[in-house]
């Protein structure tokens, strides 16, 4: 009996993170923004404050619970945008080929050539800090792998008999792409999206560090961690808990992605 350990651990951590993301507001003890009590600033973990308090005297437990919402929103939404862009471009490029394929390839190489963090940094500088900007910045800059994979998948699926059959039956191109190609390319795309979600959460943290992250009122794990980095020697709990939240979530997503790859995309493990 083979235990798919990565799937189990990864899935478990991901479900946990999602649960926190959804139920965070109910799990939190206090309001993460309004309940700043400067008299309680920087208290270590205790019975009252499970994860301690931050510099403003806010309950870190509550902020980590709320932060899940923002961090996961960033991860999920921007990755959805990436997936939509990458899949749309990749599938059409793979299916149609020709000049469109050349164009999409060029665009993909262009996106790859400018490292996504740099690109996101530029977009954040232009749009200004904030959640919406972040979703756009991270959503527009990480689709090249999805595009490449979905293009390769579309190319592979395109030569399958059932796509030929659909053409023979008179299906239009878009109908073929939607009903025949897309459903059969989703496996690897889901894998990339899962892995990419982790990357996006980390990118948000990196942008926060560089001063261009998502910003309150609501906290994100990345901004919490970034804000707490100065106190790593004096009040380590400030960075420990958001740091662990990021680490475990991204680890979970990565393990889940690896596990899903074994199931959904067994033949192309080494592509990419």
């Amino acid at each position: 009996m083979k235990i798919r350990a990565n799937l189990a651990i990864g899935g478990g951590l991901t479900v946990l993170a999602l649960a926190v993301g959804i139920f965070g507001p109910w799990l939190a003890h206090t309001d993460p923004i309004m309940d700043a009590n400067l008299m309680n600033a920087e208290l270590p973990p205790s019975r009252e404050f499970w994860f301690g308090t931050d510099q403003q005297g806010r309950d870190i437990w509550s902020r980590v619970m709320y932060g899940a919402q923002i961090s996961l929103t960033v991860g999920v939404v921007s990755q959805l945008i990436n997936t939509a862009i990458g899949t749309a471009l990749g599938v059409t490029a793979g299916y149609w080929g020709g000049w469109w394929d050349d164009f999409v390839n060029g665009l993909t190489n262009l996106m790859l050539a400018i490292p996504s963090l740099i690109f996101a940094l530029a977009i954040m500088a232009i749009l200004g800090p904030g959640l919406t900007s972040l979703l756009i910045a991270l959503g527009l800059t990480n689709w090249s792998y999805t595009c490449r994979i979905s293009r390769a998948q579309a190319l592979a699926v395109k030569s399958q008999g059932y796509v030929q059959a659909a053409r023979v039956l008179g299906y239009g191109d878009f109908r073929i792409m939607f009903t025949q190609i897309l459903p059969n390319t989703l496996g690897p795309i889901i894998v990339i999206a899962t892995l990419g979600m982790g990357g996006t959460i980390l990118a948000e943290a990196a942008l926060s560090f560089l001063g261009l992250g998502v910003r309150p009122p609501s906290p994100s794990w990345g901004s919490m961690l970034s804000d707490a980095r100065e106190t790593i020697t004096t009040a380590p709990w400030l960075s420990l808990f958001p740091g662990m939240a990021i680490f475990l979530t991204v680890l979970g997503l990565n393990l889940l992605g690896d596990g899903l790859r074994d199931i959904l995309d067994p033949q192309s493990r080494s592509r990419r």
Binding site: G161, Q164, A165, V168, L169, T179
Partner: protein, 333 residues
């Protein structure tokens, strides 16, 4: 020439069709080469007739099939389906209602994410059958015709065996009631013990529905069994065509003879001298003269110098070989 194959009578007539593909080439990488996949092919099929198309990999039979279906553009020549020129007088839907295809690999030719019902019903809806009841009835009827139970319609392809999948493939090809069905190696991917079921089914359906078949196969036994007439292709050209009896009993082209000699069957022992040498050359740079000459056991100097034309040796039996007259003897015992 073939006086029976008048255009008005033929369901399908392919007239001097050529399909070339550019290979390679680009802004920085020089001139593309021309792959002559199909190079001047003419053939026709009458209503209710079966034409067997024989050839090995790279001979252009798949490209020919695709151009009949209007999915590949002709470089030269034309395809006339039911009196209409494909691509000019027809759109994709017209062609689809006239000609359909059964694919080789029953595993790859069914969308794994669609139920049998969707696979069969979607084309109907696409072609204007909007009444839900009628769609359901026709799907059920079609399944019955190919030997499946209507209650299996809601299963997914992986729940069927290879033979059953091929039945679904046939049902899909027939659901629009086409006149011509292109069968591309319909049994070669199936288990040996299943092949007979599918061959019998295809023949029954032909009789029942008055279908014409273009039967593409490298298995001469299957072709002989199913065809009225046979065409043999080699490197994009038809090298020999005629009635099934002429082709298999008195093949005039050395390639046809080599194909027969190559069948691993006790029946063909003793035909060693007819076997071809070496391998099929790349269609990118075919040999000069008769394209079969490097492999031909009977090649003479003239074969290397000039390409023979397809010409009649008998009523309806055309061969493209300089020495066709010398091979008038029957091949098998």
């Amino acid at each position: 020439m073939d006086k029976h194959a008048r255009a008005d009578q033929a369901l399908l007539s392919v007239e001097d069709l050529a399909v070339y593909f550019p290979i390679g080439g680009g802004v920085f990488s020089g001139k593309p080469q021309m792959l002559r996949a199909v190079d001047g092919v003419s053939l026709s099929i009458k209503p209710g007739e079966s034409l067997g198309l024989v050839g090995e990999s790279g001979c252009g039979k798949s490209t020919l099939a695709l151009s009949i279906l209007g999915l590949v553009n002709a470089t030269k020549g034309r395809v006339v389906l039911d009196g209409k020129t494909v691509g000019e007088d027809t759109d994709r839907l017209d062609v689809a209602r006239t000609v359909q295809m059964v694919f080789q690999d029953p595993y790859a030719s069914l969308n794994p994410r669609q139920t049998v019902r969707r696979t069969l019903a979607d084309p109907l809806r696409l072609h204007g059958v909007s009444n839900a009841g009628e769609v359901a009835d026709r799907v059920a009827e079609m399944l019955r015709q190919v030997g499946l139970r209507p209650d299996q319609a809601d299963l997914y392809p992986h729940e069927f065996s290879g033979g059953q999948r091929q039945r679904i493939g046939i049902a899909r090809a027939l659901i629009l009631k086409p006149k011509l069905v292109i069968c591309d190696e319909p049994v070669s991917a199936l288990d040996v013990s299943i092949r007979a079921q599918i061959i019998n089914l295809l023949l029954e359906l032909q009789a029942e529905m008055g279908l014409s078949y273009l039967m593409i196969s490298h298995d001469l036994g299957v072709v002989e069994h199913m065809s009225d007439r046979v065409a043999v292709m080699y490197l994009g050209r038809i090298v020999e065509t005629g009635g099934w009896r002429e082709i298999f009993e008195q093949p005039r082209h050395p390639y046809t003879r080599a194909l027969i000699a190559a069948i691993p069957d006790p029946l063909t022992r003793g035909l060693a001298r007819e076997k071809a040498r070496g391998e099929i050359p790349s269609p990118l740079n075919p040999p000069p003269g008769c394209t079969f000459n490097p492999r031909c056991p009977h090649a003479i100097d003239h074969c290397r110098a000039a390409a023979p034309m397809l010409s009649a040796v008998d009523d309806g039996h055309l061969v493209s070989c300089w020495r066709a007259d010398e091979f008038a003897t029957p091949i098998s015992a």
